[in-house]
Symmetry: C2
Subunit: 309 residues, 2 copies
Amino acid sequence: MSRALVVSILLMAVIGTASGGDAPKAKPATMAEVLAKSSATDWRPLNPENTLYVELATGRVVIELAPDFAPNHVANIKVLAREKYFDGLAILRVQDNYVAQWGDPDGEKPESARKIRKAKRTLPPEFERALKPEVPFTLLPDGDVYAPEVGFSKGFPVARDTKAGKIWLTHCYGMVGAGRDNAIDSGSGTEIYVVIGHAPRHLDRNVTLFGRVVQGIDLLSALPRGTAALGFYEKPEQRVPIKAIRVAADVPSSERTSIELLRTDTPLFAELIESRRNRNEEWFHVQAGRIELGNVPLPVRPRSTVIRK
Amino acid sequence: MSRALVVSILLMAVIGTASGGDAPKAKPATMAEVLAKSSATDWRPLNPENTLYVELATGRVVIELAPDFAPNHVANIKVLAREKYFDGLAILRVQDNYVAQWGDPDGEKPESARKIRKAKRTLPPEFERALKPEVPFTLLPDGDVYAPEVGFSKGFPVARDTKAGKIWLTHCYGMVGAGRDNAIDSGSGTEIYVVIGHAPRHLDRNVTLFGRVVQGIDLLSALPRGTAALGFYEKPEQRVPIKAIRVAADVPSSERTSIELLRTDTPLFAELIESRRNRNEEWFHVQAGRIELGNVPLPVRPRSTVIRK
């Protein structure tokens, strides 16, 4: 919480873990130490077919899609993007400590609403999916207020209920969902929201999440808040235009965002969780010894320029 | 998550709770219904002696101080404000999903650092306080990942440990603390941070919290994020100047912000908690039946123009 902390963290990053087998038991690692010893296989690239670029005047928001959890919404949103449905629409709503949301400003006027060609206007909900053995799950050990168990699956924060045999994406910071009206099958991805505040977990299983912002969240979270009810912008000129939304696979390779994400199904990620349960950076006085789902970081870094084939 | 939701919530607000004793069991109330039936005594004004105004070019951030939890920090920060220590300093750091922080840009250069007259440069930490019977506590029923018990006391989110006999303020959205260096007694309120993201509860009992933003948080949370390490602004011109920080009691009555806050020690507040554990607005498909500390709203409204004496 101070400028001195900058120095401590940077120092920590270069100290690394240098404990020998017979040396006095080392303090648990810091996250910087864990990341410093990661190998190439601890990271994964984004699949361009499952990546959306939201192009704003201020830059690009990169969203990783979650076809394992919301296959129909992901497919429909890719169709919408490929129809250029979103191009020229706008961010209509930014509610503090809650969500930023975009869609068609004229969506409720049948005569002027943006037309859809092949995509679907509404879809059945994908609030949860069957828990199958092949779905990876890295359990967090400290419990959760809302769900029987929480953890990570394929890079996404998730909750599961083994008795009910269900697993679902959770409303953590940066998660992306398909807005809907009161009918649970009234969403489809034509209106999209991103969580920009404290995890509104009461929305879990009430609305279909289909992805997560992995880069550029600040282009949404730092937008002016809307002053109408629910954070809608009062005046059309306050809306933030969306230049385009593209599937990364449709963008020339040279124009893609080259990043990679830490895998969440590795021993290294388990070490990272421990490093955050027990913070050993010099600044900390007491360690929580526990961690809540929304406080586990999901590291992203520029992708190595060496192409691995 | 949709524009239709605006309508539903507004409608709910005027429906009210109209269930008679013998009528079929009514659905639990919504928050709008709970607030609609609140009486004047469910609300409390701010004490001007325990209220800080942070004056920015964009408006005023109102902070309620917590002298019951951090008496020495609150006293020192009031001395600093009255010395005009903060006037002309700047917001130096805005880290996404974490904190906004202000202080003296030249604080680490002894020759040019802002001088302090009567206030203290450092203070012993006030990370927790003794749990005494006279400290009110409204318990949340659904547990917490980090602490044995959590709830609200005097309008602030708190955790307590009855075995250890301690109670402490928690790092929820909008909470305000005194930045420190590595030594736990190195803070004093000369550098102040505000939580603008998912509650970083691992900071609890590591740094002294002394208040909460009760109005104007969006003037901080919507600021551009700093791009240097820890969200510090890289260039001096990116910093956001602080025009002044004043104790509200020192501001003429006519220039004070006239708001009141929902009390957290009333039966009505307990009803509000229930209304958020079980969301009965028409939009909700499943109710969480639970609530986490960071998701309990603390309503604020313009103060009635009728002065109650």
